[in-house]
């Protein structure tokens, strides 16, 4: 192997916490080979961002490097004086951060921000830097470089900002590019564009890449090698192929088993139980053993070291467990996998006709109107899960909130179990996205879960506590949680308390508004199982709103695809996820970075971003980004609804025969 561009050896980083130290990184070692891409994967708290900052030399002043070394082309970075370290930054080592919305200075034109490293490191004049900036912007796929260079950040969409930041990072032709979750804040179709760009740049420029992410699918697409971090320790490292195909560490196995996949949507998820360890007081022995069902006595006493083979692992039982799969925790065993409930033929529980919502946006200098939801008609049967998928700003949350009476519709009717949302509060409930915001921080779990019961007079006195305990049981929380406050709970636990509160009134219909989106994969799987379990036990119907088609595919019976306020395709899961497709559904499916890499779908990329570029509602609302636009008809006429099979509806001008045929070509098997 040629000399590594970057090699991190036994790196330990600690932050002061109370009276002691919090070990964010402990004995972390990895290498980025020349021209190779290494993915550093981990869930929140794994220390992956600390790693990125350590490589750049941008750790917060209170961070303490407790040991180890980082070498860039053989030279120790810690030994360099500050000025020389700075001369490397943005020049030979550069970085792209996670949040493009926060990474650009709001008061400086974008072009000048991109030019900064050129002027600084390469000594370019302002004029020649300006020309170079336009060339770079064109290279990262910006169609109008001159305009974008002169624009202020708030005038650009998220995708354009991230392209501009990539251009900044590439400005001085760095030898190492660090990418810290560069697509996490973006919509899936934009993510796909950026990943394409990164792949192309990598091959055009022969970049060496350190790619920090939580998303195994992205790693599978971009990286040659992967290094799995858990609680600041490298638990497994090797080539992407071998780690993802034949994971050796129980944690990696668990992570992969937790991942919902479009291709294997009927398979059960096997989450990792338990809580993330306290890094200020880590458990003795293997850091993962408290959550590992393979753990034996020796795991708790003996610290683990990374083996030094090509596919290294930090687990002494790795070889004997080579063929063992990650098992779902015992309490998840009773989860029904396949839906047995027959949904067809029953009267709809939720009936929505022509629902619209227009918002007025007031600005300091002007005001405008936005049609958030536009004439949506849909039905949900008792016990049915309707998945609602769409990108940010498509109106899916507004729709969900109208269904439970949180937002007044501008037009249309909503019927829930024969009534309106307002006079049917008990029957319709909601589960929210953000575990940190969904529980009142000043109330105990008992008060939170008990309140709906008290409000609707469903239980009182000693009965109340019994009922609350029952509800907690249903979301797999022990009675010990009764007296806890939200800040004493982990994200997954908070989300489960939110679920217990929602089911307290025995509702028939629950809107799950991105209910698992803010959670780490292993926790998300746990909550998804809880939700699936409740669906079957209580025969409750869900409107399951998500931007993540894999999650929807996993839990939904039927799927509705929403684009700019309207539903463009609707049908049973198998129908929507298979041809014929609406062009947008097709693009969404093809945009999902799949762990199996061999995507079943052709790569279909959408132009531009889903911003309200044109507020006129003439023609098809997808026409501006549609890769299969057929002509003037798309601009002028509202697309007709075609029904390839009963219950499967597509709103598109393209003749059904064409929607059906073009897709499978070239990637059958």
């Amino acid at each position: 192997m040629s000399e590594a561009v970057l090699s991190v050896a036994q790196l330990s980083v600690a932050y002061p916490a109370g009276d002691g130290w919090l070990r964010a990184l402990d004995d972390v070692s990895f290498e980025v080979g020349a021209g190779r891409a290494l993915g550093v994967v981990g869930e929140s708290g794994s220390g992956k961002s600390t790693t990125a900052l350590a490589v750049l030399g941008l750790l917060a002043p209170e961070a303490h490097i407790a040991g180890g070394d980082i070498r860039f082309k053989g030279e120790s970075l810690f030994a360099l004086p500050d000025a020389e370290r700075r001369a490397l930054r943005g020049n030979r080592i550069s970085i792209v951060f996670q949040d493009p919305f926060a990474s650009l200075n709001p008061s400086i034109p974008v072009g000048r921000q991109i030019a900064e490293p050129l002027v600084l490191h390469k000594g370019l004049s302002d004029a020649s830097a300006g020309a170079e900036v336009r060339r770079l912007l064109a290279e990262v796929g910006i169609a109008n470089p001159l305009q974008v260079a002169l624009a202020y950040p708030h005038q650009l969409s998220g995708g354009m900002k991230q392209r501009a930041l990539i251009a900044t990072a590439l400005a001085c032709s760095p030898e190492l590019l660090v990418l810290d979750e560069p697509t996490t804040a973006l919509d899936v179709t934009i993510e796909a564009q950026i990943l394409d760009l990164l792949e192309k740049l990598r091959h055009d420029r022969g970049l060496s890449i350190l790619y920090i992410t939580h998303n195994l699918g992205v790693v599978a697409r971009i990286c040659d090698d992967v290094c799995v971090l858990y609680a600041g320790r490298v638990v497994e490292t090797g080539t992407t192929q071998s780690v993802l195909r034949k994971p050796r560490h129980p944690y990696t196995k668990g992570l992969l088993a937790s991942l919902p996949r479009v291709a294997e949507r009927k398979q059960r998820l096997a989450p990792i139980p338990g809580r993330f360890p306290d890094l200020a007081a880590p458990p003795p022995g293997c850091i993962f053993h408290p959550r590992c069902h393979f753990a034996v006595e020796r795991c708790a006493s003996e610290a683990q070291t990374l083996t030094d083979d090509a596919h290294a692992v930090r687990c002494w039982r790795a070889d004997e467990l080579a063929d063992a799969a990650w098992q779902a925790p015992a309490e998840h065993a009773d989860v029904v996998t396949e839906r047995a409930v027959a949904i067809q033929g029953t009267l709809p529980l939720v009936k929505v006709v022509g629902l619209s919502k227009e918002f007025r946006l007031g600005g300091m200098f002007n005001s405008s109107r936005v049609q958030a939801v536009d004439g949506v008609t849909l039905q949900v049967a008792p016990g049915e899960v309707l998945g609602l998928v769409g990108e940010s700003g498509c109106g899916k949350s507004t729709l969900g909130r109208m269904l439970i009476g949180l937002i007044e519709p501008s037009a249309g009717t909503i019927g829930i179990a024969g009534g309106s949302p307002q006079n049917n509060r008990r029957a319709a409930q909601i589960i929210f996205q953000n575990p940190d915001s969904s529980l009142n921080p000043r109330k105990t779990v008992e008060a939170i879960v008990g309140r709906p019961l008290v409000l609707h007079g469903l239980a009182s006195g000693g009965d109340l506590r019994t009922r609350v305990v029952e509800l907690l049981e249903m979301v797999r929380l022990s009675p010990a949680y009764l007296s806890r406050y939200p800040h004493q709970l982990s994200g997954g636990e908070k989300q489960r308390v939110g679920i217990a509160r929602a089911i307290a009134t025995s509702p028939k219909f629950i809107v799950c508004d991105e209910a698992v989106s803010a959670l780490d994969v292993s926790v998300q799987a746990y909550v998804l199982n809880v939700l699936a379990d409740l669906r079957d036990r209580l025969n409750v119907a869900y409107l399951f709103i998500s931007h993540d088609l894999s999650v929807i595919a996993h839990i939904a019976d039927r799927v509705a695809v929403m684009y700019r306020g309207a539903i463009v395709e609707e049908g049973a899961v198998d129908e929507v996820l298979g041809p014929p497709f609406h062009p947008y559904t097709e693009a969404l499916l093809s945009a999902i970075p799949d762990v199996e890499r061999a995507s079943r779908f052709q790569r279909i990329r959408l132009r531009g971003d889903a911003v309200e570029q044109d507020r006129s509602v003439r023609g098809c609302r997808f026409q501006h980004r549609c890769p299969r636009k057929i002509g003037a008809i798309c601009e002028n006429e509202t697309p007709p609804v075609i029904e390839p099979s009963p219950g499967h509806r597509i709103a598109c001008h393209i003749p059904l025969g064409n929607l059906d045929t073009t897709l499978v070509a070239g990637n059958a098997l």
Binding site: L56, L58, R86, A87, L88, R89, G90, N91, S94, I95, F97, D99, A102, S103, L104, N105, P106, S107, I108, E116, P117, L120, H121, A143, N144, Q147, V148, A151, Y152, H154, Q155, L156, S157, M160, L165, T168, G363, M364, F365, N366, G608, D609, V611, Q613
Partner: protein, 319 residues
């Protein structure tokens, strides 16, 4: 932007009309009979009646208001009852003298306050930062009127460097003018500098922790460039809002300082008029202060827009 400014100006006009009514009504219920005060305690009823009818004090209140308001619109602020002089020039001179005091102070507060704030934010946790923090804590807690007395005691009384009170026009010589204005300015700015520097410090610290500042460091920019080019401008945006609030505090301070230092500005005129129940002066005085204050706030908002491109350039480029 122009439309916005016009909208705001209209709004200010509305506020001034409402305020004028309020002021007029409030001053009418002020204790004491004006006519009585003008003619003195031992005047006859006839004399009082004569004064009342000369000043139209017996008309219904809305008639009095309309007469006063139409006068205002024609630039006629009325006549001071006690001084028997037209109020227009009286107030104009007072405003100009107060404006000098306020102008010097606000510039000093902005420059020194911001500089101190940035300095201590950049050297956060250092000895200098701590010293500045403690000093600003102290200065924020000392009321102007007490501070004025202490300053007079020390610099005028004990050291004899400056005159304790009074005012000198620029025509009497720059040095004389400066001597007279130094103590009032020092009193006015002490608390405000502390206020501005504390807020600038915290806003600067917050900005220094933002992602785009980290991104700027990741480009390899030296720290002073990161601070000057990337942090400072954005950190100043909230400071501008604070400066606008401080204009209000400054006006309160001016009333006190002018009274203590016998500085013949608008504040002292107002207090004098209230003591003397010189209602036309009180009315005109309060109304002009309100107008100045509203305009200062508008100026701050426009300045805010100038520093914030999000407001200057609205349209999105995204396609």
């Amino acid at each position: 932007m122009l439309a916005y400014t016009l909208k705001r100006l209209t709004y200010i006009a509305v506020i001034l009309v409402v305020m004028s009514m309020l002021i007029f009504w409030a001053t009418q219920v002020m204790p004491g009979d004006v006519a009585q005060m003008i003619v003195g305690q031992f005047a006859t009823d006839d004399q009082i009646r004569a004064v009342r009818s000369r000043l139209h004090l017996d008309d219904p209140i809305h008639v009095q208001y309309l007469r006063w308001a139409s006068g205002l619109l024609q630039g006629d602020l009325g006549v001071s009852m006690m001084m028997d002089r037209p109020i227009g020039p009286l107030i104009r001179d007072a405003i100009l003298r107060s404006a000098v005091l306020a102008g010097i102070s606000i510039v000093f507060v902005a420059v020194v306050g911001i500089w101190l704030g940035v300095y201590s934010a950049v050297r956060r946790g250092s000895k200098t930062d701590q010293a500045i923090s403690i000093a600003s804590y102290f200065f924020i807690s000392v009321p102007e009127f007490f501070w004025a007395i202490v300053v007079i005691l020390v610099f005028a009384g004990m050291l004899g460097w400056f005159p304790a009170t009074g005012y000198a026009a620029m025509s009497e010589g720059f040095w004389t003018w400066l001597q007279h204005i130094i103590l009032p300015v020092a009193t006015l700015v002490s608390g405000l500098v502390a206020h501005v520097s504390r807020l600038t410090r915290s806003s600067m610290i917050e900005t220094m922790q933002s992602q785009y500042v980290t991104a700027a460091r990741a480009k390899g920019l030296p720290e002073n460039v990161v601070i000057r080019r990337h942090a400072l401008r954005n950190a100043l945006v909230p400071t501008i809002t604070v400066l606008a609030i401080d204009v209000g505090l400054l006006m309160g301070g001016i009333v006190v300082v002018e009274t203590v230092f016998s500085y013949p500005g608008l504040g002292r005129l107002l207090i004098f008029a209230i003591e003397q129940k010189d209602i036309p002066v009180v009315q005109a005085g309060i109304l002009s202060v309100t107008a100045v204050y509203a305009l200062a706030n508008l100026a701050a908002d426009l300045l805010y827009a100038l520093f914030n491109p999000r407001i200057r350039y609205g349209d999105s480029l995204a396609r």
